[in-house]
Symmetry: C2
Subunit: 450 residues, 2 copies
């Protein structure tokens, strides 16, 4: 059953395209799921992909368009006329259509909208384009089933059948008043098990979760996960039901958010992928590297301050990477755990308790590592025991300080309303490098008195 | 509408508990969603939480149990008798009940199972306990609606009503033959719009996605996301329908997987949270720190090899943290992008093209940073121009090498069937520290000839 892409498959398609065997192509592709076809198109070159795209009818290509990688979709959209694009969009759900229109240039956008055949659909799409993409309004769709509180179950079932024609998944039936204000919901199951004459106002459940059009998408995701919802209605400022968000939209929000945090922790500041252009990737990576480089300048200055040690205690300098690496790693560990706790809303307890815990945790880690280090300096590295002791004391101090920085910087950023994920990765490693080296040489200076 | 936890709310509950106002407690809590009650219990101390737990009836507490943090749940389960636990489990869906039983000790497990009242439910739970938790069998539940291919739509609707009683979300109706082998599916919508006398064999869709009990959970997640499924049936070795996985189970898989990759990138090797015990956190963090420490030992050795430079070219040593930091950051950036590409299945093209791209990307980054560095060494740091040149050449070389290591180590691990996420974080920074410093001093030695 499972579709598997292979080199053989791709070269078979290449051959069919080259020999222009349209009917053969069509019959093979019609057996495949649109997500599988998109995978195949992503592997072909642009000309071949466009060729296949034109062989298929718009019902299929519209779905494929959604699944393509960004650059291929952009390329194909550039080659299609506004009328052709509008034909694709007429086949799509409102939010998917709006997402595609949002990718077009301003002038093409207007042309495409004017070519849309279904006026209601066009109105819905234009409405969706108004909302910020990171809000409930930006991820909701207009497709939903709603019934009036004054109807009975029979009217409701009839209406539902009509409305459900255009909706792939019904989930809940929303109940509104004459002004379209959201009053409650009906479950499909309740409807199946209730007498047809019952008035809706008797059976609907008035307690339900909803969000407003301007609720941030991550907040919608949090609510839907917490209450285990498969769909949530969206209301406007006047309480009117304007759309619905389903769990599959939320899966994308969760994945995007996790990907973003992961990238920030790795020092990548935009939503990029391995297959993006060198220029896009550079824009995402370079700022963090410049930050790290400037941090490096500071460490050069710090080390200069301790230049005097070089003559008699040169060995001290051999341990710089060790101290810096430990400071960086400990800091990243601490900050990652806090950032994840903040993202998943699992942090509890007071700041003071967290301070105590972080100190005991880092002391425990530090002392175990100090043992390894003492043995290592003595048996493996053969450095003199005073230097060994200095490095060991420095290691424990650096671990404690680095873990405190790693813990409290994201907490402070979060309090200040700044994304705490910024404080993982290069930011933490750079500041901990600097602190670590200062602590290390200060301890050395106090003990050796150079 | 939105529930918000606050200090006032918590202290109100503490007071109600202290003064034993059970009926007041009950009436407040019955208005709240079980997920909200779980949040409150997590904030109370253990005695108070258990008190509230006993005030509520098992229908509510069973759901709460699922939402609690691990240690509180463990504590409460320890205080309940096998009979009391069985009462909770009788209220839960099969997979949730199995998850809770899996947390119990072997002896308690058997006692609890023998106390379960609903024999069918007990059989289902025991069956689920057999499967590995990271497979389709481990995340599926037994609750689903299935109909026989030999029935007609009317029988089917009647049967569905009976079966749907115990199921919170119907999604699809699966069609099986007399041997319980999966044949296809019916959508609720089709059923609503088809005449009642039609035989099921005429209306069911035989093309459907399914997974086997031993399919890995991340693979199930990939399939459900790719084909945009809200539920997928699970079959056993004989093709018999044995369970169903819904999209909300998959949301957890996706989140867990993203959390795991994030933690590995930060050098945390187990599934821990900020609120876990110091000991749990140490077990997750220490191994990576030991790895970094051993890497540090190697850098000490490497630097010793270049000890001769110290007398005349001490300034070289001031740039160690800068070079090491740049090597580490570039390596983490490159590896993170590959790990994410592998996880999201978005990597395409040949290895050779990736090599070319990574080299051009790192050269572009490297040359821009080299410009900043040259200006910095001259104007900010005032080091002599030969040293400035050495550091600059080393920087560009280190960036190229580090990005190649960062790119290809995860690709190789993935080819070898090892989780590529292991190659982010401390592993990459440590190996890049070592390589970076070796490259830097080798270049210095070639130019200065010490």
């Amino acid at each position: 059953m499972e579709f598997k892409i292979s080199k053989d498959l791709i070269s078979r398609f290449e051959q069919l395209i080259e020999t222009r065997q349209d009917s053969e192509l069509e019959s093979i592709l019609n057996e495949l799921h649109h997500a599988d076809i998109a995978e195949i198109l992503d592997e072909l070159d642009f000309e071949q992909a466009t060729y296949i795209f034109r062989v298929l009818d718009s019902e299929k290509t519209a779905e494929i368009l959604l699944e393509l990688e960004d650059d291929l979709r952009e390329n194909i959209l550039n080659r299609l006329s506004p009328k052709e694009i509008a034909e694709e969009l007429d086949e799509l759900e409102t939010n998917d259509a709006a997402d595609i229109i949002a990718e077009l240039s301003q002038s093409k956008k207007e042309e495409v909208i004017s070519e849309l055949q279904d006026v209601e659909h066009a109105k819905d799409i234009v409405e969706l384009l108004r909302y910020d993409e990171n809000t409930a309004g930006g991820i909701m769709h207009k497709e939903l089933v709603k019934v009036n509180e004054n109807w009975n179950v029979l009217t409701c079932v009839k209406q539902m059948r009509i409305q459900a024609e255009n909706i792939s998944r019904v989930h809940s039936i929303y109940v509104v008043d004459d002004e379209d204000r959201l009053k409650g919901r009906l479950s499909l199951k309740d409807l199946l098990t209730t007498s047809t004459k019952t008035p809706i106002s008797d059976v609907y459940i008035s307690k339900l979760n909803f969000v407003k059009v301007d609720t941030p998408d991550v907040e919608v995701a949090r609510i839907m996960q917490k209450y285990d919802l498969e769909a949530i209605p969206v209301i406007d400022e006047l309480g009117r039901l304007v759309g619905r968000i389903t769990i599959d939209d939320i899966v994308d929000v969760i994945k995007d958010e996790a990907d973003k945090d992961y990238q920030l922790a790795a020092g990548i500041s935009q939503d990029v992928e391995a297959d993006d252009s060198v220029w896009e990737l550079t824009k995402a990576r370079l700022p963090w590297l410049v930050l790290a480089l400037l941090g490096g300048f500071i460490t050069v200055h710090v080390l200069k301050l301790f230049e005097a040690a070089m003559a008699d205690h040169g060995t001290l300098f051999f341990f710089i990477p060790l101290i810096a690496a430990m400071a960086g790693n400990v800091g990243v560990q601490s900050s990652a755990i806090i950032v994840q706790g903040l993202a998943n809303d699992t942090l509890s307890g007071s700041l003071f308790n967290r301070l105590l815990k972080e100190i005991s945790l880092s002391l425990l880690n530090g002392l175990i590592l100090a043992g390894v280090l003492l043995l290592g300096t003595h048996f493996l590295l053969g450095v003199d025991s005073v230097i060994g002791m200095i490095v060991t004391i420095a290691l424990v101090s650096v671990i404690v300080i680095a873990s405190l920085i790693g813990t409290f910087v994201p907490l402070l950023l979060n309090k200040a309303g700044i994304d705490p994920a910024l404080a993982t990765g290069p930011f933490i490693t750079t500041s901990n490098d600097i602190c670590g080296i200062m602590i290390y040489f200060t301890i050395a200076k106090l003990i050796l008195g150079f």
